[in-house]
Symmetry: D4
Amino acid sequence: METREILTRFKNGELSMEEAEHYFRKEPFEEMDDYAKLDSHREIRSGFPEVIFCSGKADQHFVHIFKKLYEDNGEVFGTRASRHQYELVKDLLPGVEYDELSHIIKIEKKEKEHIGKIAICTAGTADIAVAEEAAQTAEYFGSHVERIFDVGVSGIHRLFSRLDVIQDANCVIAVAGMEGALASVLGGLVDKPVIAVPTSVGYGASMNGLSALLTMINSCANGIAVVNIDNGYGAGYIATQINRLAERDYYE
Amino acid sequence: METREILTRFKNGELSMEEAEHYFRKEPFEEMDDYAKLDSHREIRSGFPEVIFCSGKADQHFVHIFKKLYEDNGEVFGTRASRHQYELVKDLLPGVEYDELSHIIKIEKKEKEHIGKIAICTAGTADIAVAEEAAQTAEYFGSHVERIFDVGVSGIHRLFSRLDVIQDANCVIAVAGMEGALASVLGGLVDKPVIAVPTSVGYGASMNGLSALLTMINSCANGIAVVNIDNGYGAGYIATQINRLAERDYYE
Amino acid sequence: METREILTRFKNGELSMEEAEHYFRKEPFEEMDDYAKLDSHREIRSGFPEVIFCSGKADQHFVHIFKKLYEDNGEVFGTRASRHQYELVKDLLPGVEYDELSHIIKIEKKEKEHIGKIAICTAGTADIAVAEEAAQTAEYFGSHVERIFDVGVSGIHRLFSRLDVIQDANCVIAVAGMEGALASVLGGLVDKPVIAVPTSVGYGASMNGLSALLTMINSCANGIAVVNIDNGYGAGYIATQINRLAERDYYE
Amino acid sequence: METREILTRFKNGELSMEEAEHYFRKEPFEEMDDYAKLDSHREIRSGFPEVIFCSGKADQHFVHIFKKLYEDNGEVFGTRASRHQYELVKDLLPGVEYDELSHIIKIEKKEKEHIGKIAICTAGTADIAVAEEAAQTAEYFGSHVERIFDVGVSGIHRLFSRLDVIQDANCVIAVAGMEGALASVLGGLVDKPVIAVPTSVGYGASMNGLSALLTMINSCANGIAVVNIDNGYGAGYIATQINRLAERDYYE
Amino acid sequence: METREILTRFKNGELSMEEAEHYFRKEPFEEMDDYAKLDSHREIRSGFPEVIFCSGKADQHFVHIFKKLYEDNGEVFGTRASRHQYELVKDLLPGVEYDELSHIIKIEKKEKEHIGKIAICTAGTADIAVAEEAAQTAEYFGSHVERIFDVGVSGIHRLFSRLDVIQDANCVIAVAGMEGALASVLGGLVDKPVIAVPTSVGYGASMNGLSALLTMINSCANGIAVVNIDNGYGAGYIATQINRLAERDYYE
Amino acid sequence: METREILTRFKNGELSMEEAEHYFRKEPFEEMDDYAKLDSHREIRSGFPEVIFCSGKADQHFVHIFKKLYEDNGEVFGTRASRHQYELVKDLLPGVEYDELSHIIKIEKKEKEHIGKIAICTAGTADIAVAEEAAQTAEYFGSHVERIFDVGVSGIHRLFSRLDVIQDANCVIAVAGMEGALASVLGGLVDKPVIAVPTSVGYGASMNGLSALLTMINSCANGIAVVNIDNGYGAGYIATQINRLAERDYYE
Amino acid sequence: METREILTRFKNGELSMEEAEHYFRKEPFEEMDDYAKLDSHREIRSGFPEVIFCSGKADQHFVHIFKKLYEDNGEVFGTRASRHQYELVKDLLPGVEYDELSHIIKIEKKEKEHIGKIAICTAGTADIAVAEEAAQTAEYFGSHVERIFDVGVSGIHRLFSRLDVIQDANCVIAVAGMEGALASVLGGLVDKPVIAVPTSVGYGASMNGLSALLTMINSCANGIAVVNIDNGYGAGYIATQINRLAERDYYE
Amino acid sequence: METREILTRFKNGELSMEEAEHYFRKEPFEEMDDYAKLDSHREIRSGFPEVIFCSGKADQHFVHIFKKLYEDNGEVFGTRASRHQYELVKDLLPGVEYDELSHIIKIEKKEKEHIGKIAICTAGTADIAVAEEAAQTAEYFGSHVERIFDVGVSGIHRLFSRLDVIQDANCVIAVAGMEGALASVLGGLVDKPVIAVPTSVGYGASMNGLSALLTMINSCANGIAVVNIDNGYGAGYIATQINRLAERDYYE
């Protein structure tokens, strides 16, 4: 609806003051005691509810936001949570789950449907923490996930044995530290988008994941795009966007 | 079809020697005088025909490959071509087009259908060369493209005026050099995947695009993944994969 | 007064030995037991009293300097103080305040007038610690400060809702970690100087703030200059210099 | 004026359709053949007319924009212009000037008043090209500029001999390559904001200005903020903003 | 022979003055007009004749050294030679060969025996220049070489089709630019040492081969060691050392 | 054996179903509760049993894998183990040894034969931890090792006094931190392959081993290849591969 | 004495076997239980006794070496010692001193003469730890030291007040973190060599001293050379070498 | 002479107005048409005449300064001069010499005495250009220089054969590119200061000399300090300062 049309309808009485104002208003969010602005229109706008990046949040802020999101949505999802943060809320709300490996804290609605398919591969076992962040994020947002772990290029026959599952997904997430070559190999084997997640797994010249990031960015294979080091959440998010596009008949 | 099944069918005569061999054979490509292995199964495997990365190719290799791909597919597409390379083939084959701005050389079939929608945004006018590489790649692979150029964050009202077009796409490509902030802003405004392309546009601490790459990788917005600096082709490719998933009814 | 004039006046007896010597003397500071040279002329020279960078100071040095500055000025201000340092002085002097968030320790005169206006914006809630260092520094030096927190580019409508307050300031401080895009967006929206402060908030390729620093240095927007990572104090200082220039009628 | 107020006045007939629409409209710029969006509201919004960053512009784009801006404003200013670009326009429009040293191309109105004072210092003679870009930018925007060149720290008595001129300015620009120490020394000597411009002058570990940038960002002196390597234009712009604030009586 | 033994034999007259002196002398090389010291004992010491790194040599130095080595050994081998350097010597000496692709200049003895087997693999066609430097170096030093080009990981079936040849070698050289993942894949597939050569092939974040170097150094596969970017010569040299060890029966 | 041949033999009954299937099968490894894929064919394929990289493994995973490998091979070898991990298994299995210096945990068969010779040199005493990882790895895989420690270039006469031992080895490992010059000096003195291991020993601009890595990669000496920082295991592995080639008469 | 001359004299009986052997022998050092090689000829060769770099030494190694050096020289000097290491030896030997600030541990002969003059300047108080390492090193080796602390460029008048002392030294050591500009300013003010020591003092983009190192290496002033970050010992050592050359009449 | 003393003497008539003024005056240099400030007191202050860094100077500036320095001193010395700059002055002044290798341009007084001894060593022949800049600088300033070229660590016996000459110098300059290990080896062999000059000779990971710089800065040997990459002039300058201190009897 264009500006002129709204103004016309408003003048004609087809729109009330509130409705017209709503169109032009500037604050589709709630102020929380000055320190944060929760984005309450977010789910409507993007189809994804707001999520908490827990790391570095002050205790009272964390508890406040966690409860608020639970009240608004009936479920809540936080990444990079500490055990201490789990202690803060576990008795306040029912059904809080905390996963030591992925550092995810959540209250998730039961019997959520998981549609489509995202394949999440890791190069080694140490990459599983990041992969789980991606997997549980995608599942929270309603995607079906296949986990294919420990299939790095130093023993490439392990990857080939699972290739049919991987090739069948709408989107593949490649999680790898050290030299990060897994993404290139996957890019050459599947015809769907590969989201590459470098991890900080490694030592020496791995420079906390920077080397894996560079490997993935420079990939000679087609159909690969990269997110930040250890950013399982980001990978799970964009993979879900792609998965939903592939399954849009379901959503529409 | 599992190994055991193939072997059984083969023994039973349900599969001929050639068919069984085909399943296990190792060379679905053509050797070209020892210097290259054209991937003739590629289009079947991925739905995308092979493309030429022209930069650095020896003259005779370039001409040989260009002609071979044209003969196989009836069209051919090359990125990072020089004017000199255009001179080499323009009289050998009919309908060779060369675009000075994007450095794309191609012979493209007429009346190709372009489906879905990919929105390609640039921050400035100097980023258009890379954006065109992305746009023409996506079009060559059958995507419909909307170009929204010169909408960088230093004059953000220009971006907002085109927001409806952008939000309507299946996938958004954000092309930006200098500080590369466009990707984050787009990520906050659309609910579809954003493929970010850092460009080498800039000077000083832009370090030939490395700064823009870091900006995009560190984006605080959701739904962003990044390709290599100036890699318009890579962005056009993965955006097309996503666009096809969204329009899979068309393909199936 | 030129050298020749001083010498002439001195010979003529218009200047005493002490007055002439004063002009040429080299030590407008006080030695403190050999380990530091407090700059007692500083406030006269620059209009800003000396401030303590507390981090790394030996206990006895810290206490000694803290007390000395309090005795000289009737107030004292320290950045990057630890709780331990607060314990050292809280009972020695009246009215010591310590802020856990910004790590500022101070005794501040009551009823200080705050003039002009500096707007301090943060991208996220984790950037508030640095923003508070900037804010309290500017307030200590007599500036009026507006805090606009959690208005990062991933939800840019939050920024627009406060734009009128921001545009009304003499100087804007943009505090952001991760990809640091906030500075560019602000630079495009206001016509006053923007002092950008990259923060070490982030992970992976944020490289402890280096990525945000590069983003801000490469900004395509006009009217932006950058200080060191997490340097809230430096931003508050230069913003106050600018604010005072804008309000110079008040000072003269 | 708030949204509700505009709507009320519009309904009451106090505002015409055009006036109301103007308030909400989204396109205060002119499209130029799809490749650029000239910001015609810019001078109104920021008090600074739009300027051309000439480097990398296609010939026809450059000529088109250069003429358009001249037509709109009666003067025009471009940075990083080549001699070739000068040849393109020197006979099309009257009074085009080109400066080989600073690579500035311009048509400037005569008898422009230059108010306030900005001091521009360079460490060496090779930094003058960047300093001139800053100086002529500031002059184009109406500032009075003092040039103090070749006063680097390796012969610091040269700097002291001009200190009175520097200390008298509203804002100081410090232009230095190699180790870039000039900014710190100036920061310790003046009580006004210092805008530091690292230059790519140097060799070896200067890394094209990155070392000087790091020196300036890490300065232990107060009141320093930094712009990009060789970004004389950016320094001249923000220094003019500060200078105007100091001389706001003149502007209001 | 120990010092004491030499001295004893010398005193006993079993060694002449010249022989004893020879043992302790310090200069087993020839001075060439002060600018170079040719290592004439080198072949005796290491089994490898001296080779010329041609790049950057002054014309007269190059010609002088080229002729001297030919006279001493009856053959000569130079890397990184320019066509200009070839012009300088092609008419002075018989049988000078120059290879534009690998930039190798040489006079090589006929009917040289090539023993053992080194497999040299490249990821793409643009890596062949470096691979040829490695191959011809190894051949000059007497190794048998198998070339397996264009078998990068983006089409990994091409690599598998040649695996038997690769697995049969004493040593494998993996030459790859861009993301350099080929080395890791080979490391996982063969049980012989893999010498990895990163190349400067690539663009953007490949940083002239630094990314490929990091990939290879961080490889999760066993049995990989890395030489400098584009250092085909170094790879050919160490691979020959390994090949000779494997074929030591031939040499002893 | 080629595909066609296998199929023919299978049809002719010369191969059973199991034998044919074996040839084409895809899973020569064992799944361990989904989190790891132990490579049980590894020793057959490469001649090296699988080894545990202990760092970062979850307790139960570590114990499970440690026991499994012991059961399969009668011995087991882990690198980068913590004392805590040693506590976990020391009472579960007989003969577990843990070395605080090298962080190696192992159960090793008695009376293992050690063949050939690998010389392992360190620049300083602080590099010994990494050297021991290399040495014990090589010994576990059956190599004879000579340790020559504290022979760095700042007192080069110490190196010369052991030169005969070093020159007699099949392969030399050079372990050095700080400036890492030892590798170049060794490369000039021996005619066997030198595997260089940069260590993180150093401070300041050593950047945790990156400087030593660069030194070694840029070495002007011949016959040097480099592994990752602190990667003693990797050096011991490839040195053993080389040592075995040199002693292949023993193995065949 | 030349080789031939020694051999002649030996044959003539002018040199004994032991004397001749001594000349050619290769091991002027003592093995310490295999883990270290103490350089007992060092003081004779260089005029400087061996010193202990304590950091990272195993307890028993540290104690063993500390005692051995004390026994050989009657004094001993260690840098980067921990309090724990001090506890290990304080009761074993008389007169052990430990300085918490500089982390130096030593037993020093009384009534040592200190000759010549080295001036050691620091930019701030946090740089004093490194400066003391330099000062006490130089004093241990017999140099007279002047300490001029807290004279950084942000208050340059403090430096000028001590300039006469600085200009009178044979060598100046400039110790500075953050932006490290002190070295350049000193280089422009004195005519003696300036040894620059970057320190890791700073935060954000100081990158643990790397920025200060770059500043100093790029200095535009003459007569400056640089040692590693925080390497007070190295600066004290080379400054003593220079001081001794200046006072060589004393030594000869 | 202290301020008070000057004032007293002046009042007493022991100093004239000019003499007193001279003491306090601020401008001991000559302005050259605004673009440069020649430091005419420099030789008096430091004992070294001013030298021209020719690179990047505008033609007229270069000629002007070259002539002025010649007129003042009867000789003149410029580094990094181009052949074009030589053409500009060769006919204007008598006796201009230009050296293509070192890029030095000079008119030098005949029969200059060269005292003391500086040894200048290079690793390879490609480092000679930088070494000559150092050597000719030191000679111009009156030092005696010994050139020992092509003695890099890959053939370390070449270095040992010249060790007596090197050990006899007052100061050693080590010039090396690639891995730069020469400095460490020299530091371990001589007891005089070693000034290390990294050069940009190398390729790949040498990063234009940065790797050699890091090697030298991290040297484990004592008595080494480092100047900028390719900075032969800086090394020749500080080596001359040291050489003069060692020969101070000659100067005093």
